[in-house]
Amino acid sequence: MSLAAQRVQPSWLETLRRASRRHWALLPLSLLLLVVFILPVLAVLLKSLEDAGPAANYTAAVTGVSGIILRQSVVVSAMVTVVSLVIALPFAHVVGRLAPRRLGAIMITAVVASLFVSIVVRGYAWLAILGREGLIDTVASQAGLDIVLAPGRVGVIIGMSQYSVPLMILPIYSAIVRYDPRLDLAAASLGASSLRTMLRVYLPLILPGVGAGCATVFTVTMGYYVLPSILGGPENMMIGTIIAQKAQRTLEISSASAISVILLVISLVSFIVIFRATRNDING
């Protein structure tokens, strides 16, 4: 983990180890993780087996209304992933390679900092821009058009894509920064055109970053609750919305838990699949 620690002659570390033989140092962290993290996740797993029984809970989760919403969530998440990729990839390229170094650093910091903007605030703001009598509607109605994007699927995709763009940019950016620009020269010296170099050298080498970005965005979007609730309305529920409704309004906790477990599995599986597919073996 820490580089400095590894550089130390091994013999010297002993005192530090002895000083840290205070196992209590790990206690608050372990307790927090155990009681407030592991137990809740276990509770969801266990609850999904209760009441009507595991078979009924899980069948209900993938059929009927929640089944439809489940499929709908996958579609919406995939679209959000594509939209944010289209926006993020050129941006990461600009910041990582085109822009002057200092400006690039400032821009990437700004991207990270934008994650600080509250989700609820974003949701409300998009409602004001995309909703009835919002910015777009007001402008469009002067031209005799009626464009109301929220509540609605387009609104959900716009709002969630805006939140996901930074999550997509960061892994791609770090892959681009690691790309050695001298490879371009090498390819050119071997007679490759710049387009060919781009397609055959550059893209394959930054693909793992793209994969990591897609995996992150897809899984995060799948589990989203706040933005789809604000921007989606009743017809455009996401899986998160139905979990919340079942748990809080109708108190079907077991059913909500079963859906949660499915969401968890989809998230983890898609994460692993996308990650594997784009990992190139050159980087190990």
């Binding site: 620690a5 530090l16 409300y124 969401l263």
Partner: protein, 268 residues
């Protein structure tokens, strides 16, 4: 020449994306100053009416205070737990780090709605819905990975043998830690505090489940209001939340500069 044009185009695109990331949220500010009780943008006219209503409404003000209290407590907890854990694990490369580190990353990977449901289930079981301590602990866990990572990175920039030097000069291990490691770690600690504070301040999903109907945090009250009655006080609350976020980040930046200035000023 072609390269310069490409660069200019690229940078312009970059600024456009940054505008997309920041500007939409800013529309809440004119909305907060709107005269209309409805969500109309652009606003017909401007006034401070909703601001004064917000300040006079104890449910909104209490939600704000509650949010800040929870965030502060959660940030301190996450930072302390992260500090103890990071210190222990970087100094001791045993099996513990193999178990703890993946666990620390899990809260980042598991969808917050699943986590929230789990916490809710437990809270129902033990009658903790609406309990502020439960909310604080949960938020602390959500901030923990960020605190831990920041502090670990901070520790890795400090030569661990400085501690040995201090001990060899007669300082006990505790003294060596507080006099040598802690001051050098201050920037990382500030970062950990700020991150986990802002994270808790904005956290909505878990809070929606367990903060309870009568004791909502500010984002929860905003969310309920947006989905039910769309109160004209929502944009005011949103503006306040934005301001709070900006202020905590600014505080962090100022503190950091002060610390490094403090070290540099004393060159003599």
């Amino acid at each position: 020449m072609a390269k310069r044009v490409r660069q200019a185009l690229g940078v312009t695109y970059g600024w456009l994306v940054l505008l997309l990331l920041y500007v939409p949220a800013l529309v809440v500010i004119p909305l907060a100053l709107s005269t209309s009780p409805f969500l109309v943008f652009p606003p017909p006219d401007y006034s401070l009416e909703w601001f004064s209503q917000f300040v006079a409404d104890p449910t909104w003000v209490n939600a704000l205070i509650r949010s800040v209290q929870v965030a502060a407590a959660a940030a301190i907890l996450a930072t302390l737990a992260g500090l103890a854990g990071a210190y222990y694990i970087t100094r001791r490369k045993g099996w513990q780090s193999g178990v703890i580190e993946p666990l620390m990353v899990m809260p980042l990977v598991i969808p917050s709605i699943v986590f929230a449901l789990g916490v809710y289930t437990l809270a129902l079981q033990f009658g903790l819905v609406g309990n502020m301590a439960a909310l604080i602990l949960t938020h602390a866990v959500l901030g923990l990975p960020f605190a831990y990572i920041n502090i670990t990175v901070g520790l890795s920039t400090i030569d661990p043998r400085l501690e040995l030097a201090a001990i060899s000069l007669g300082a006990g291990p505790m003294r060596a830690f507080t006099l040598i490691i802690l001051p050098l770690l201050l920037p990382a600690l500030f970062a950990a505090l700020t991150l986990s504070f802002v994270l808790s301040l904005d956290e909505t999903v878990v809070a929606l489940f367990i903060s309870g109907d009568r004791t909502p945090t500010l984002p929860v009250k905003m969310f309920s209001s947006i989905t039910y009655d769309l109160s004209p006080l929502v944009p005011v609350a949103a503006t306040v939340l934005l301001l709070l976020t900006v202020m905590s980040v600014l505080t962090f930046v100022v503190l950091r500069i002060m610390v490094s200035r403090l070290l540099r000023l004393r060159q003599g």
